[in-house]
Subunit: 361 residues, 4 copies
């Protein structure tokens, strides 16, 4: 796009977009609807800094989160693993303390957390909503868990499918589960999906978690449907620490991983319903209608036909309107197309059944 005007002899190129973004001062919001009377918070509750094996200063995690449109983060440096210890003496509470001022300025809810780190099995666990990380620095795992529990932490198993040769649900996990020292489980971590963990979450009513576990600096300038960190959508009464904890305890989450949304049927259905808007169609010939569907969310919704009417598959592109043509019963006042949302997973091998209602009156 060029603008010509008289008298402009000297052209000044201003790469405005990059300048603004480089300064970290602009963010695009993440688009997922509020549902069922709850506000939808975008959360990443697993990340690292130079204080354990991460590569950035704690404030960077706030800047990244703001830029990417997150509402809540928890810095969860390893308690037991600090490869930079020679240069940065152990101080478990510093990442939170350093980042807090910036988080407030950026309107990011910062949760104090830590990663309890043991060989697999049992594996790694995040404890969040802590007041003090130090008491968790114990020899025995159960002591760390008790210390976290004493602070009324919410604890979750991070990446149950990690180290495939050692993976599985062991007695220790039963112990943690029964003591409520493990109330959530990562159905995803970073870019990886764990179908077993998803299954366990359904069977044992564990809260479904999925976070970035980011160690490197984030390269995203903003969140987009094609490129985003793995995050949890948490459905809260309000944006506050207590409300967030309530929601996690009660399992009100969904996980956004790549082009998939993983969660309980009722939450995924509510997101679908609020995201999708079907136009009144145009009838071109007898029995043929043109239908526009708007998708107001940030996820491309991939649907496959279950019934007899409608296109075989369709991608309702994020933040866009998709048009398609279909045959309908001419006499009917409404058509109801049966589909399954393939990338909304309500179980490891199960998409979300939905119905698209088209007003033919």
């Amino acid at each position: 796009m060029r603008i010509k005007q008289r008298g402009v002899l000297f052209v000044v190129l201003v790469h405005l977009l990059f300048a603004a973004l480089a300064a970290g001062q602009t963010k695009r919001e993440i688009n997922f609807p509020d549902i069922l009377g709850y506000k939808t918070l975008k959360c990443d509750l697993h990340m690292h800094t130079v204080f354990s094996d991460g590569m950035v200063w704690p404030t960077v995690r706030v800047d990244e989160a703001w830029r990417e449109g997150l509402d809540v983060i928890s810095i969860t440096d390893h308690i037991e693993y600090q490869p930079h210890k020679q240069d940065i003496p152990t101080n478990h509470n510093r990442p939170y303390d350093i980042a807090l001022g910036r988080a407030r300025e950026r309107n990011i809810l910062l949760i104090r957390g830590a990663e309890i780190t043991r060989e697999t099995p049992p594996g790694h666990f995040n404890a969040i909503f802590l007041q003090d990380v130090n008491p968790l620095d114990t020899e025995e795992l159960t002591d760390a868990m008790k210390a976290a529990d004493k602070q009324d932490a919410f604890i979750f198993w991070n990446h149950p499918g990690w180290k495939p040769e050692h993976k599985g649900w062991f007695d220790i996990h039963t112990t943690l589960y029964e003591n409520k020292w493990m109330r959530g489980i990562g159905v995803a971590n970073g870019d990886t999906y764990y179908p077993e963990a998803h299954q366990w979450a359904l069977e044992k009513n564990l809260t479904m978690m999925g976070n970035s576990d980011i160690h490197q600096p984030a390269l995203e300038r903003e969140t987009s449907p094609e490129n985003h960190r793995t995050m949890i959508l948490v459905f809260v009464r309000e944006k506050s620490v207590p409300a967030l904890k309530d929601a996690l305890v009660e399992g009100r989450t969904a996980v956004w991983l790549g082009n998939q949304l993983i969660g309980k049927r009722k939450y995924l259905r509510a997101i679908f319903k609020k995201s999708v808007e079907i136009s009144k169609p145009y009838r071109s010939y007898k029995g043929t209608v043109w239908v526009e569907i708007k998708n107001h969310s940030d996820i491309d919704i991939e649907i496959g036909r279950v019934g007899k009417q409608g296109p075989g598959t369709l991608t309702l592109a994020a933040n866009a309107t998709t048009i398609f043509k279909t045959k309908v019963d001419e006499a009917a006042e409404e058509a109801e197309l049966s589909y399954v949302v393939r990338n909304f997973r309500i179980a490891p091998d199960k998409g979300l059944p939905v119905s698209l209602k088209i007003d033919l009156k």
Copy 2:
């Protein structure tokens, strides 16, 4: 973003986005707010096809418009200039007739129009809302104008700054103006801005127009703040042909050219007000606040400080949230920052004055 899962031995790369867009089946809506009780239609009322000196079949203009999120188009092939005549015999009404079915399927309002083409001066004029183009194919310009007027057309002067060596307002323009054979004027055409035309529009109360005048195929896959065709925003009572004509006659337009919006103060002010949302700020130190401003529109809003408070210049990026820090009077209940929107032009050299109100209670 990578998704790993067990058992995927054969990887299938699906460039889904491009596939969908290539098929022309997905569009991103253009974001400008409805204002002052009117609906804001995005219109391009000047374009060409193979039936004059354009390079595409008429239905392509509908596909492009749909893909780019337009609501209204008019195909305005030259009446007097048909370089493809050897292969495509003259038939002034065909572009509209050919494109109509597709326009209906795509929910695009298609307006029958034509470009009355004379040497400059007087230049080129678009007549739209015609029933039949043929009566306008006359030797004398005034006869063509009368024929258009007889059909109650809306006629506008397309690119008054074209051919700089011959430009200017001549007696013929006064004649056209006084007979209401010219009720609008292009303050922009394609990528070019015409400051004199803008001045004339203000002085003579001509409706401000600005269209693409596209001849080549459009290469945009969608409309974006960085790359969009020049278009008119028309503020209408409803999306219909009569309502559109009323709005044009009454001058309810603004022109989106590159990173600028050109129009009357009242319309630009209303767009600014509905596009911009200022958060309740966070007070970090005494007298220092952090303010977030969301811009819900598709235009980067570039503001410069007029008063004493606030950053010197700021770009409120389109569809994004911008954060800045400023000093305020600690005791005040509200701060009011005086700015001018540099790229909202209410006159050739004049931006739109605005006030940013920050709630300090």
Copy 3:
């Protein structure tokens, strides 16, 4: 990127890149190496204009080809199918005649061609290197073929997998093949791959073809690894019409479809060898080396390990350098890693075996 300088009070945004590209004046070359003493031409020998069922004026096909870095095109409008006939009277030779001047200016080799169009079976065939299309406009298919053959045309079967319910190799195809009225076959057409046709090409020594068959305007601003039209690489003695024909007759082609290259083993191997450059590695510990591989071509080369050394899979990104770490025999002077290039298809289910030699001296 921002450049600040004294005295710049008025900022002028110039979207330079888009402006230049919109004008169609800039192209990025397509990167595939010349091989085996031949020059590699990038060709699209199947496309349509408004003269049959395409959507653009013939010169647009030249502009698109130039912009996308092609060397050779053939406009192949249907002889028997002209849905725009009401407006554009049949004239089979016009698309070539209209486009020729522009092609010369743009240094594009334009080949006169046409699509002989019959129900499937037998299907659609392109005849190229014609002097006059008119004699091919016959009732009987064989008459058309004879007329093309009389002009010493090269004829190929376009999309043998089209209309799956009717597909297959029928007697008529044997007739065409035995008379040399069909010397090439589309192993791909548009975005679709035809494994049966690929198999037939191998068995019957038919030249492998793969073209865009584009009807709509092309939306690509340039050719990129992620988004490009399907095209044929033809390995010629020189850029001329006779040399191109020789190469086609002799089967010196490969087809670039999505992220795949389809062709005979010897051509794909030569492209691999000339595209890939392996650095002298850095030894970090005993037996561990860091190796950089440059890929100078426009295709992401996806390799999978066959032997025991080296990473399991690796994508050698187009026009980029990939680094990896591997263990080697410390005492050896050279390591030879056995891989298969998964996306270089030498048969429907067979990748190209390659060996990566690493100099350890």
Copy 4:
């Protein structure tokens, strides 16, 4: 681009590009030609880590440099300013020591350096090619300079235009200059150009420097013409520390800032000549030729006509071919078009004069 194949029931979306880049394993090379018998190294000799006021761990600077295609970097943390001292005790040599292993694996030449930091005036100075940073940690500036000089460091003034209210060439600068404690000067730093420094560099024969001075994590996934860090091109005999130092001492540099190249006439001319390739033109009519110019470099070359022939202005887009039409003397065997390269600055207000020779034989 879509690839359809039989039997693919389950689609797996693999955002391959992002995956590869996120892993930091792929880089695109920076394209500038080797000139005058020298190899052109791309260098950034000014950057920070958590060991002073930077935001990343030292190895991140290596990863970023590799990804962006740099050959040489120097980490130059402030000696006198360490805001993270509470958590990271001062240890001037650690950033280099930590980053060295990674640099070797990535084939990056890492130079030990530090920033000598004083109020402006005199300002900030980088000393590079140090063996030990500690002796430079002195009270007096001249002592630090002497300590650096004793190690045979190359010292340059970083951002002479910083803090405009205090800027200028003071006696202290004369002292540094005369003692050869300042042999280079930043004509650019980060995104800012310093015309006075450019003038001083020309008058006093100081080596022209220009670096990123990066503190935040780099967000670039690769270097591109539109978005790249400010860097120095250094023309060396070979890629080695001594050869680099020689080149800096002898002033063999050019600075790439935004869309500009700043340097001595002979280097910029050599880059232009090796970057630009003019095709043998096509003559369309009498005296009209079509000329293609390839630009093999990573900078858009913006030329403006000085003579009478050729287009008024032209952007030779980076890594692309530009076509234009011009009139020439029909009888001539060669046309020579006189231009100035506007964005190759040989002095603050002076572009590089060039001549485009077109072979008309």
